[in-house]
Amino acid sequence: MEEIDRDMLISRVVDDQATDADWAQLRRLGENDAGVWRELAEAQHEHAELCRAVESAIAAADDIDAPVEAGVQRRFAQRIRVVTTWGGWAVAATLVLAWVSAPADFRGAGAGILDLTPDQAIQRYLDEGRRTGQVIEEIPQRILIETRPEVNGEGLEVIFLRQFIERTHVRTLYRSGQDEFGRRISVPIKFEVRLSNPL
């Protein structure tokens, strides 16, 4: 019992956790057995050495970054797969969504937007969209559409596509259909989709 108390006291001192009562007890122990001070010094030294060795060994972690780009690609691929499995009506649904969900109101958020460069405006759109939950992320890959030499002969002009993944909430989805007279109509979709991690 006494031995455990002694180890605990020394360990608390090493970890800078000793209370006044701990110190008082340690002094009492030291009065009867001066070896306790030697043990304390050794424990502090060993702890310092072990810290150095562990910090050196785990320093490798500082060079390992989270492969978030791979994660984005994978999640995007998953989403594409989800859309694919929903079938052809999903394409129509994306078009119809624009009709049944409220258009985004940029009037408030757009205050002062004319003062921003296009890049600043996009960054603001991303920041604001992430804050509100409307924007999930930008797809890191940019799709090349066209390249042509600059007029002055220096470098290339690159036309590319940037894509953003957004989230919206709707009460009903519609697909495009035709009535008995061949007229285009929107037909509500009834479905039960249970996804553990929906878009």
Binding site: E49, L50, C51, A60, D65, A66
Partner: protein, 205 residues
């Protein structure tokens, strides 16, 4: 600063975990940066000697990116990441074990030539004694080894370790104190040379 652990108790830490669960790349990146050092210590405590720490860290980082979206409770993040780390270390151990059974291994390099992460790259700034202590700490029973190594990571308090391991703070304190005692005994036994068989038996009782 408590190495991202106590920090994660604050609203800011929790919101970062929430954002990471939602899949925000920047939040995942920051989260990993805050936690990767203690993850490395966990891996160090559980990995087989011949497996490189960097490889396991990459595995854990990849698993974090791929599966954090499945986490439902932010407060479970650190224990979850610890479990991911231990699983990665054990899986590597099983692979290494299979590999050893299938192929004739070259002789294991001498411990003095090899870093504890399995690489031959001794750190000049760390004393031989420090390396020896870490090697001895790796021989401790798991219950003592893990808290002792975590305590050696800068900023890891009893409280942070207790939360990570899902144990009471008093248990962590006791294990660290007992682990230090065992480490001292191992070091002293090493200085005296191999312990006589009867002494080892007496100590085991």
């Amino acid at each position: 600063m408590e190495n991202g652990l106590i920090e994660s108790q604050t609203q800011g830490g929790r919101s970062e975990i929430t954002a990471a669960i939602r899949g925000e790349s920047e939040a995942i990146r920051r989260l990993w940066e805050h936690h990767r050092r203690w993850v490395a210590a966990i891996l160090l405590a559980h990995k087989p000697r011949e497996i490189e720490l960097e490889d396991l860290l990459q595995d854990v980082a990849m698993t974090l990116v791929r599966t954090i979206g499945e986490l439902r409770d932010e407060s479970a993040f650190r224990p979850w990441l610890r479990t991911v780390s231990i699983n990665a270390a054990r899986a590597a151990g099983r692979k290494a074990s299979t590999h050893r059974r299938c192929f004739v291994q070259s002789p294991t390099p001498d411990a003095s030539d090899e870093g504890l992460d399995g690489r031959a790259r001794p750190d000049e700034s760390v004393s031989e004694e420090a390396h020896r202590l870490l090697a001895l700490a790796m021989e401790l029973p798991e219950g003592y080894r893990e808290p002792l190594l975590l305590r050696a990571v800068r900023g890891m308090s009893y409280r942070a370790i207790a939360h990570l391991l899902g144990l009471p703070e008093t248990t962590i304190e006791t294990r660290i104190a007992r682990g230090r005692r065992l480490l001292r005994e191992l070091a002293e036994a090493g200085e005296r040379g191999p312990m006589p068989v009867e002494m080892v038996r007496a100590d085991e009782q």
